[in-house]
C-alpha cells in the first residue's frame, strides 16, 4: 500500500480529529506536498462539512410519555428462570449412584475395619465477637500475607516512644458467614444491623429487605426488633423504592409491630413526600387493625385527616377512607 493510500485511509480520522498530534502533523505535511492527496483531502473535507447540514431532529414528546408510562415496577424485573436440562440431572444422579455403589463395594471387599475407641476431647467454644478489636504482636503474625486481605483505614502509631516498638493499625475485612435460625437473637441483631447501617446507596439494603420479607413474615419468625429496624428504614431512607419495600414488609408482620414501629407508620402516612409510601403505610395499618390489634388513636386520627384532606393525593384519600370503613364497618 502506497503512502498516499495510507493517507487516504487516515483522512476520516484526521477529519474527526482523532489522530495523535505527531501523525496529524505528518499527514498535513504530506497533503500540502502531494497534489493528488490535496484534492482528495478537499473532497473529504467538503463531504464531511456537507454531512453537518443534516440537522438534529427533535424527539416527539409522545415518546417520552410512552416511555415513562411503561416503566416497569420493581416486581416485574425478575431474572428469568431457566430450566436445567434433564440430561444434566440424570448425569448427576448417575454419578452419585456410581460413587455410593463403588464406595460400598470397595468397603465390603475385605475385612471390616474396626476403629479403636479413643477418648473424645471437646475444646470449650471461645466466644468470638465480630466487632472485636485486637492487638497482635508482630511475631504472632505470619510474615506471608496470603489471600490479599482488604486492609483499610491504616494508621501508624507509637504508643510508647521509649521502647523500640512501633504500631500499625488497620481495619481488615474477611468474609464471615453466620448461620442460625431466624429467631436466634444474634441473627436478628445482625439482620437489624444490616438494615439500619448498610450504605444508603448500596443495593444490599434493598436485598436485605427482600430477605427479611421472605424470612420474617413467616408465621413464628416475626420479631419486634426487625419490625423496629424496618420502621427506622421507613423513617430515614432517602430512596422511595426502599421506603415502599419497608412499609410493604411491615404489612406482612402485623404481630411484631410495637409502639415505635406503629409510630413510624403514622409518621410516614403524615409526612412522607411520596404518595406510594403513604399508601403502603395505610395498608400496613389496615393489616394491623385486621390482625385484632386496636389501632392507636393517633393512627385513626391520621387516617381521618388523610381521608378528608383536600390537597392530598386522590388515591391516598380513597385508601384512607377504605381503611377507616374496614376498621369501623
Amino acid at each position: 500500500m502506497s503512502e498516499c493510500d495510507l493517507m487516504r485511509e487516515s483522512m476520516p480520522l484526521l477529519l474527526s480529529e482523532s489522530l495523535d498530534p505527531a501523525r496529524r502533523e505528518l499527514s498535513h505535511q504530506h497533503i500540502e506536498q502531494c497534489a493528488a492527496c490535496n484534492r482528495e483531502w478537499l473532497a473529504y473535507r467538503e463531504t464531511w462539512r456537507m454531512m453537518g447540514d443534516l440537522p438534529e431532529v427533535e424527539v416527539p414528546a409522545r415518546v417520552r410519555e410512552r416511555f415513562l408510562a411503561s416503566i416497569p415496577t420493581v416486581d416485574e424485573v425478575v431474572v428469568p428462570f431457566r430450566k436445567r436440562p434433564a440430561a444434566r440431572w440424570l448425569a448427576q444422579a448417575a454419578a452419585v449412584v456410581l460413587l455410593v455403589g463403588g464406595s460400598y463395594w470397595i468397603g465390603h471387599r475385605g475385612a471390616a475395619v474396626r476403629l479403636q475407641p479413643t477418648p473424645a476431647t471437646i475444646n470449650a467454644v471461645a466466644p468470638y465477637s465480630i466487632a472485636e478489636s485486637r492487638v497482635l504482636p508482630a511475631r504472632s503474625v505470619s510474615p506471608n500475607i496470603e489471600g490479599r486481605p482488604d486492609i483499610q483505614n491504616v494508621s501508624f502509631n507509637d504508643p510508647n516512644p521509649n521502647d523500640s516498638e512501633i504500631g500499625l493499625s488497620f481495619d481488615i475485612t474477611s468474609h464471615v458467614t453466620v448461620t442460625g435460625k431466624p429467631t436466634d437473637k444474634s441473627m436478628v441483631r445482625l439482620m437489624r444491623y444490616v438494615l439500619e447501617n448498610e450504605d444508603r446507596m448500596s443495593p444490599n439494603r434493598s436485598r436485605a429487605i427482600d430477605w427479611v420479607r421472605a424470612t420474617y413474615s413467616q408465621p413464628g419468625n416475626a420479631d419486634p426488633e426487625i419490625a423496629e429496624a424496618l420502621g427506622n428504614v421507613l423513617r430515614n431512607d432517602e430512596h422511595q423504592g426502599v421506603r415502599i419495600k419497608a412499609a410493604e414488609t411491615l404489612n406482612r408482620m402485623p404481630g411484631a409491630m410495637a409502639f415505635e414501629t406503629r409510630a413510624a407508620l403514622i409518621q410516614a402516612l403524615k409526612s412522607d413526600p411520596n404518595p406510594s409510601v403513604r399508601l403502603k403505610a395505610i395498608e400496613a395499618l389496615t393489616s394491623l387493625a385486621r390482625s385484632g390489634v386496636t389501632l392507636d388513636p393517633a393512627a385513626v386520627d391520621m387516617l381521618r385527616q388523610k381521608a378528608s384532606q383536600d390537597d392530598e393525593n386522590l388515591y391516598v384519600r380513597v385508601k384512607a377512607a377504605e381503611a377507616l370503613s374496614n376498621i369501623h364497618p
Binding site: P12, Y44, E46, P55, V57, F67, V74, S206, E322
Partner: protein, 219 residues
C-alpha cells in the same frame, strides 16, 4: 361516606403507577453522574429513568432515525432502548460509558429491525419529512441546505448497514473507533475500513450531485 367501589377498584389497580417525580428529586438527579444514576437503577429505584432519558433520548432517536430512515421505527427504538436499559440495568458495568452501552442496545435493535424483510422493503420511504426549516439563513441558503440534506440522506441509503452504523456513530455522535468497535462487535481496524469506505461512497455520491471536482475545487 363510603367511596364508590369502582373508584376504589381503579385506585387499587393503579397503585403501582403512582410514582410522581418530585421537583426536588429531579433537581438532585441533575447533579448525579451517569454511573451514579445507574447505580440507583441497579438497586431497583427507577426514579432516575426520566433524567437518563432526557440526557440521551435525542442522540438515540437521531441515530435510529438516520440509520433506519423511518421516524416511527426510531420512536419505537428510542422507547425500547430505555425500557431495556431499566430491565437489564445489572448488565451495565460502571467502568463503561453509559452512552456506549445505550448505543450498543440501539444498534442491536436497529440491526434486528433491518433484518426483517418487511422493514427493509419500506425503510427508505420516510425521508426527512419532519426536518425543521432553518430560519436564520437566506431563502437561497435555506434551499441549498434542504437540497444538501436530501442528498446526504439519499447518499446514506447507498451505504451498507455496517458502514452506515460506523459513519453515523463517528460523524454525528463523535464516538472513537474503539467505542464504535465495542458497539458493533468488531475490531477497530474493521471500523476504520467501514468509515473509510463509507466516506468514499459519500464523497462520490455528493460530489457527483454537485458537479464533481468543479465544485470541490472552488472551495
Amino acid at each position: 361516606m363510603k367511596p364508590p367501589r369502582r373508584l376504589l377498584a381503579w385506585a387499587v389497580r393503579n397503585l403501582s403507577k403512582m410514582f410522581p417525580s418530585k421537583s426536588t428529586e429531579k433537581r438532585e438527579m441533575k447533579h448525579l453522574s451517569d454511573q451514579e444514576l445507574m447505580r440507583l437503577v441497579q438497586a431497583g429505584d427507577f426514579s432516575p429513568a426520566s433524567e437518563i432519558y432526557d440526557r440521551y433520548s435525542s442522540r438515540i432517536y437521531n441515530f435510529a432515525y438516520r440509520f433506519l430512515r423511518n421516524s416511527e421505527a426510531a420512536e419505537d427504538a428510542t422507547q425500547e432502548v430505555f425500557v431495556k436499559m431499566l430491565k437489564h440495568a445489572n448488565q451495565f458495568h460502571g467502568d463503561a460509558k453509559l452512552s456506549t452501552w445505550l448505543f450498543s442496545i440501539t444498534a442491536n435493535w436497529c440491526r434486528d429491525y433491518l433484518r426483517k424483510a418487511d422493514n427493509r422493503a419500506k425503510d427508505s420511504e420516510d425521508v426527512l419529512v419532519t426536518l425543521p426549516a432553518p430560519s436564520e439563513f437566506s431563502p437561497d441558503r435555506t434551499l441549498e441546505q434542504r437540497e444538501n440534506q436530501l442528498r446526504i440522506q439519499k447518499a446514506l441509503t447507498a451505504l451498507t448497514p455496517e458502514q452506515r452504523e460506523a459513519i453515523l456513530l463517528s460523524r454525528y455522535q463523535g464516538l472513537s473507533y474503539a467505542e464504535i468497535a465495542q458497539i458493533s462487535g468488531c475490531s477497530e481496524g474493521a471500523v476504520k475500513t467501514r468509515v473509510f469506505r463509507a466516506m468514499e461512497t459519500l464523497k462520490k455520491a455528493l460530489a457527483g450531485e454537485r458537479g464533481g471536482d468543479r465544485c470541490l475545487n472552488a472551495i
